[in-house]
Symmetry: C2
Amino acid sequence: MNTAPSSRTQVKRGASKASYDPALLHAIVDAAYVCHIAFADPHGAHCIPTACWRSGDHLYIHGSNGSRMLQCLTENECCVTITHLDGLVLARSAFNHSMNYRSAMVYGRFEIVGEPAKRQALADFMEHIAPGRQGEVRAGNDREFAATTVLRIALLEAAIKVRTGPPDDDEEDMHIAAWAGVLPLAEARGTPVPDAQCTVAPPAYVKNWATS
Amino acid sequence: MNTAPSSRTQVKRGASKASYDPALLHAIVDAAYVCHIAFADPHGAHCIPTACWRSGDHLYIHGSNGSRMLQCLTENECCVTITHLDGLVLARSAFNHSMNYRSAMVYGRFEIVGEPAKRQALADFMEHIAPGRQGEVRAGNDREFAATTVLRIALLEAAIKVRTGPPDDDEEDMHIAAWAGVLPLAEARGTPVPDAQCTVAPPAYVKNWATS
């Protein structure tokens, strides 16, 4: 569980926070709507945010056929990173301040998802965004599917780093009269905003959005 | 305001969502605690999340002197990206689903912040994390400052993309009986968690954390 799958996923700094557990990796991916992808082209390195979802042992992304990023990703190795910031960690010394987080870095190369798997993948994406919505909306037509590229990358070469818990103060700083602890942060769901022309009653996944 | 500062910051896809407004760029950076940095070394491209803050026209990061990333960043061009996800946009067709977001991509090269500017930069970081806390904690000592590298990158070569508002449905889909609108997402602050050994009353920035 705690052996890096490759040399470039071997965490060296803060190695005690490292993990290579597939179940934890899946949980970090499933909690995300967006990942950041680093890749290099002749203009240099780029870091692009894009929507993502998981099915089995792969992370999926999609975009327009004309996307330069998607084109580049099938031709080059890349690094996909997902980060959840869970809190600011306030220690008794300035130096020992930290953050709580869960992050995953996935290395490899994306591959094109062909038909008919592409349609299933986009259905999985909808399930990730709004479970049960699939049957309510107009499904994609052939023109729309043809204009969309879906890529996937194996979740095999990955490194996870997680920090949780209270500040880690030096023993000699414990007497300092500063408040110490964690200021939590989390992605929160707000009250749904219906479209001005929407006359349809909210389904369960909308009604329960802000409380689930 | 809406002219790209360089060819690599010229947004081509979804150009109507693009901006190059410095005030908007500053607001997106100031709302973030973490950025993602893409850079390439002989092992390929990497996407690493790290804490960030702004002072004037620069974005700052810090880390241990031993950090391979910091070493690499002073020697290579990179791309720093900040993304705030503001909501899931549910349209009447599967194809027109989208997300609301504010993102900024900054290109350039980091430079080392030397003494004494380094100490001021780290003080600025503390102000970003917890305004007013600076005078309460044990300040960094010479050993700690010496072990810490601070880098900064100019916020000059940057591209912003922002999507806001309701779904953008095709006219011929407006009759479809699917709920349409936005499911909002935001970074939320939770109730502070004091360290088990903390006996100090919470200062204002802790007491007001979850409500501010």
